[in-house]
């Protein structure tokens, strides 16, 4: 059983600029895989290479074991949902959705039947005769999906398909997309710069920056155990405390604080200790339960966010952001008071670079 999509050593250069730099990646059958990164990180170029709009300068790209090489887009078993939807403005919805089947020379009655079924699936059966400019953004998005899915591609490529929608619609479409992917069982490769979107929808996420694929993991692992500063910072909020690996494998932080986690790293290596704000607790009275890492500090600011409070605490190890849920029984802390900051040793992660 070969992987749905397999990239090995894929590099893409435009003149002097390296857009994608030696990517190795395998996406499994039926997986919802996201490529996540800031704009210009190479995620869209990677997607376009899979689609066949660009060809790799180096490396090999296989779909279900077949080398794609210089195969043009129309000969690849993949379909794309474009960021701008790219619906044909001179064709109605039915003609848009049936375009791929028509090009594949599928019989007319089968086209009609499959188009109807797919439009019903995205709840647009009643708008078959409408032109794209008569539909709302969310509806156009659905047509774009239907136009790709009706062809039953081996892999569906989605290039920030929800980017143009407003927040509420985007959130409901996220759930809908995820549900749809389960139902049709097609491999999805989803490009986004929105970490929240990637975390909610994906089976696995690949984080990219400056053309490189930095880390590929499932959402929990990626959030809890980022391996680099970039990934730690890009996904969610995080405190990164500067530390140095000591001779015994422990990590020395400011304020004479020592934590474990430096095993296997050379003494003197500078590392970052990553701590999620919601994993930290503040104590007014200094009563820290046993087994927790503790550090004294002063509350520099408190900001009310409705469902939680955000604190900024100055400590000898550096500035630490803390969030505490706004729920009954959780004590709030005033600005200027002295507190103890604590966290469970397992809650921190070590990043090196």
């Amino acid at each position: 059983m070969s992987e749905a999509v397999e990239l090995s050593g894929v590099t893409k250069r435009f003149g002097d600029f390296t857009a994608v730099d030696g990517i190795d990646l395998a996406v499994g059958d039926g997986e919802f895989f996201s490529l996540l990164g800031p704009s210009g990180c190479g995620k869209t170029t990677t997607l376009r290479m899979i689609a066949g709009f660009e060809f790799p300068t180096e490396g090999s790209l296989r779909i279900h074991g077949t080398e794609m090489g210089l195969l043009p887009p129309n000969k690849r078993p993949v379909n794309t949902v474009f960021q701008s939807y790219a619906l044909f403005p001179h064709m109605n919805i039915e003609e848009n959705v049936g375009f791929g089947l028509l090009m594949k020379k599928v019989g007319k009655s089968e086209i009609d039947e499959r188009v109807k079924r797919t439009l019903d699936m995205v709840q647009l059966g009643s708008r078959a005769a409408a032109k794209p400019d008569q539909l709302s953004g969310g509806q156009r998005q659905r047509v774009a999906l239907a136009r790709a899915l009706v062809n039953e591609p081996e892999v569906l490529l989605l290039d920030e398909p929800l980017g143009a929608l407003d927040l509420k619609l985007r959130q409901s479409m996220q759930l809908e997309l995820k549900e749809l992917q389960h139902r049709v069982g097609i491999t999805f490769i989803y490009v986004t710069h929105d970490q929240q979107e990637a975390l909610t929808m994906s089976d696995r996420i690949g984080v990219m920056n400056e053309g490189r694929l930095l880390q590929v993991d499932d959402p929990e692992e990626l959030y809890e155990r980022p391996k680099s500063r970039f990934v730690a910072n890009f996904i969610g909020e995080i405190n990164l405390l500067d530390g140095t690996v000591g001779s015994g494998g422990e990590i020395e932080l400011g304020g004479d604080l020592r934590v474990s986690g430096g095993d296997g790293l050379a003494a003197g290596t500078s590392v970052g200790i990553g701590l999620r704000p919601e994993r930290i607790t503040l104590h007014d009275d200094g009563m820290v339960p046993d087994g927790r890492v503790a550090l004294p500090g002063t509350v520099a600011s408190r900001i009310y966010h409705g469902d939680y409070y955000a604190y900024a605490v100055e400590t000898p190890a550096g500035h630490i952001d803390v969030t505490e849920e706004n729920r009954a029984g959780v004590q709030t802390h005033d600005e200027g008071i002295r507190v103890v900051v604590s966290w469970d040793p397992s809650a921190s992660t070590v990043v090196v670079d």
Partner: protein, 300 residues
Amino acid sequence: MSTELRDEPEAVEVTPELEADAERAQARQGFLVALPALGYLILFFAVPLLIVFVYSFATRSSTGRTLLQDWNLDSYRRLWDPLVGEIALRSVVLAVLTTVICLLLSYPLAYYMATRPPKTRNLMMVLVLIPFWSNFLVRTYAWRVLLGSDGPISQLSQALGGEPIRILFTNTAVLIGLVYGFLPLMVIPVYAALERMDWSLVEAARDLYAPGWAAFRKVTFPLSMPGVIAGSVLVFIPTLGAYVTPALLGGARTTLLGDYIVSQFLAARNQPFGSALSVAVMVVMLIAVVIYFRRGGRTL
């Protein structure tokens, strides 16, 4: 979030009268701005057109003077003269040929231009427009030199051991001259349509299994239709009534609508018939253009 200090606007009840007033004021404003151009067009376009229309019903005296009396339809009856039909047909064939050749030459060029980087595009646009920097009449005279029996084309043919070629004073010469003259008028609108096209639509077509040619036929070409229609109209109309090019490059025996109308006003001294011809050409052209735009509009 509006925390800035601001006086509350006074509550004004918007009545239908107020709204209508505002609309009228806006309409007046637009009208004033358009007035100079409107005045110019009325004075030098609409009024002369009206005069031509009136003259087409007038009577020609035996000495060739136009008498504004005894209004009649004689001039229009003369339009059914087989000679007129022959001239009109020849003109239409020439105009259609010119339009088709212009389109066939322009489309690939416009496509090439529209797919270049923006800087190159602008440069090429300037190059297309360069001929307009010199006078059309001068450029047409240049063709007389080029196409003449001792011109460079003929000389080249002779140098290669062939016969002297004389293209000048033939229909081919007129066609060459017209295509040359009107080519930019086709390139510009087609280029404009292609340039503002969303190329991701072509990628979408390719993604949906369309080979390059099918993607062009199903997506690129239909979406460039507004440019093709505009360009065709811009080329067809002036070529149908072309006068300068046929007069300078054409032969004496191949009369076209343009020279025929001119000859009615000058040599034949038959202003009513010349006017009737002009009116007829305009009406037919107007109907043709309306049909053309309607049909083109449906493909979009």
